[in-house]
Amino acid sequence: MGIELLVNLSYVAAAVLFIFGLKMLGSPATARKGNLVSAVGMFIAVVVTLLDQSIIDYKWIIAGIIVGGAIGAMVARSVEMTGMPEMVALFNGFGGVASLFVGWAALYGMDASAFQLITIILSILIGGVTFSGSMVAWGKLSERISGKPLVFGGQRVFNILLILAIVISSVMFTLNPESGIFLYIVIGLALLLGIMLVIPIGGADMPVVISLLNSYSGLAACAAGIAINNIILIVAGALVGASGIILTQIMCKAMNRSLSNVLFSGFSAVSAGGAAAKIEGEVKSMTADDAYYVLEAAASVVIVPGYGMAVAQAQHVVKELQELLEQNGAEVVYAIHPVAGRMPGHMNVLLAEADVSYDLLLEMDAVNPRMETFDVAIVIGANDVVNPAAREMEGSPIYGMPVINVDMARNVFVMKRSMASGFAGIDNPLFFKENTRMLFGDAKEMLGNIIKAFS
C-alpha cells in the first residue's frame, strides 16, 4: 500500500513534468530544458514502475532495457543531422510496435472484460498502423524507397475494403478472444493499413505524416494504458495524441496545405501530372569570377539556402562568403523558408553550426516585402522554395505555397549542379528569368571559387 501510493504519486509528478516539458518545448528559449524536464518525468515513471510488486522477474526487463538502451543511444549519437527526421520516424515506429505488444501481452494473464478486449484490440490496431506507417515514412525520407506518391487504380476501394475487413475481424476477435487466428489477422491487416495510408503520400510531406503518426503512437499508448489500467500511460498518451494533432495542423499551415490535402492529394497526382504550363526564356550561366565582380559591387545581398547546401555541407563556406561581403561593406542577410531542406528548421540548424548569428536569419515574411531592395539574391542549393511557379502558374502542384520571391531581387545567382528539379519534382521558371544567372557546380566548390576571387 505504501509503495503503491508512492508509485501513483510519482505518476502524477511524471505527468506534471510531461505537461511542463511539452509546454516548454514549444518556445525557443525553453525548448532544450523542456526536453530535459520531460526526460526526468519519464525516468521517474520508469523507476517507480520497477518498484511495483507485481513485477517478479527482472531478468527479461533488464535484458530488454540494456539492448534497447544501447541501440537507442548508439543510433541517436551517430545519426547525422540530415538524418534526424527519418530517425524520429524510426523511433516512432518502435513505440508503436511496443504498444502493439503491450496490448497483445495483456491478453494473457487476465480475464479480460469486453471493454478491455476493445481497448486491447485498439492498442494493437493503432500500434500496428503506427509501426508500418512509420517504417514506410522512414523509407521514403531516407530514400530507401521512392519518395514519389505510389498510387494505383482502385486504391480507394481497396482501402475501404481493408478498413471493413479490419472492423469485421476486430469484432470477431472480441467475440472469440481465445482463438488466436483473428488476432493474427487483425495484426496483419493493421500493418497493411499503415503501409497503404502512407505510400500514396509524397516524400516532401513526410514530416507532416510523421507528426501524425507520432500522434497515433500517443493514442496507441493511451489505448494500451486503458487496457492494462495504467493511468500514466493514459494521461501521457492522450497528451501526446492531442498535441501531436495540433502540431500536425500547424505544420500543414506552414506549408499552406490542409491535412486532408496532404493525406489524400496523392490520389489525384496521376491525372494532374502532365498539365504543367510551358516555361519560356533562356538559361544564362556564369562563372565564379563573373559572380565575384557583381558581388564586389553589391551593397545588399540576401542568401537563400536550400537542401543543396545541406548536401554539399556548404554552411561553413557560406559563412566565409558572408564575412567577406560584410568586410566589403555590404549588408548580408539570410532568408529561411519554413520548409527549406528536408525538415523544418534544417537550415537554421546548419547555419547555427557554422556560427552564423541568429539575427541574420530572417523568416520568409520578413524578407519578401523588401526583396526589391537587394542587389543580389544568392540561391544556394534551393529550388522548390524559390520557385515562382507557386505564385504564377495556377496549374502547378505547388501553386499557392508561399515561396521566397528571389526573382524580384535585382540579380539572382542560382548555385546548383544541373537543371534537375528539386524535391517536388517540378520545373522552375526562375532559372529562365531575365535577371537570373546559373552557377552550375557543387555549392561548396562554387562558393570556394568565389571566395578565392575575393582574396
Partner: protein
C-alpha cells in the same frame, strides 16, 4: 463502473490539455517538438515493464521483453536525438 467514469474524465481532460498546450510554435521548433513528444509516447515502456516482469505465460513474457526493448529505443533514442537537435540551436547574439 466508477473507475470508468474517472478514466473518462482523465482522458477528456488530458486531450483538452494536449490541445491547449501547443499554441503557436515557430517552424524551427516543429521537428524537435515532434521528436520530443515522440519520446514521451515511449511511456508505453511502463506498460511493457509490467508485461515483461509479470510471471505469465511464456508468450506474454516474450512479447513484453520485445516491447521493453522497442520502447526503450524509442525513449532513449527520442530524448537523445531531441536534445542533439536542440543543442544545435545555440543562439548567438539573440535577444533572449
Amino acid at each position: 463502473m466508477e473507475i470508468a467514469v474517472y478514466l473518462a474524465f482523465i482522458l477528456m481532460l488530458s486531450i483538452f490539455l494536449g490541445f491547449e498546450l501547443i499554441n503557436k510554435v515557430p517552424a524551427t521548433l516543429h521537428t524537435p517538438l515532434m521528436s520530443g513528444s515522440n519520446a514521451i509516447s515511449g511511456i508505453t515502456l511502463v506498460g511493457a515493464l509490467t508485461s515483461a516482469g509479470a510471471e505469465h505465460s511464456g508468450l506474454a513474457t516474450v512479447l513484453g521483453t520485445i516491447a521493453v526493448a522497442m520502447a526503450t529505443i524509442n525513449v532513449i533514442g527520442g530524448y537523445m536525438v531531441t536534445d542533439r537537435m536542440l543543442a544545435m540551436f545555440k543562439k548567438k547574439g539573440s535577444a533572449k
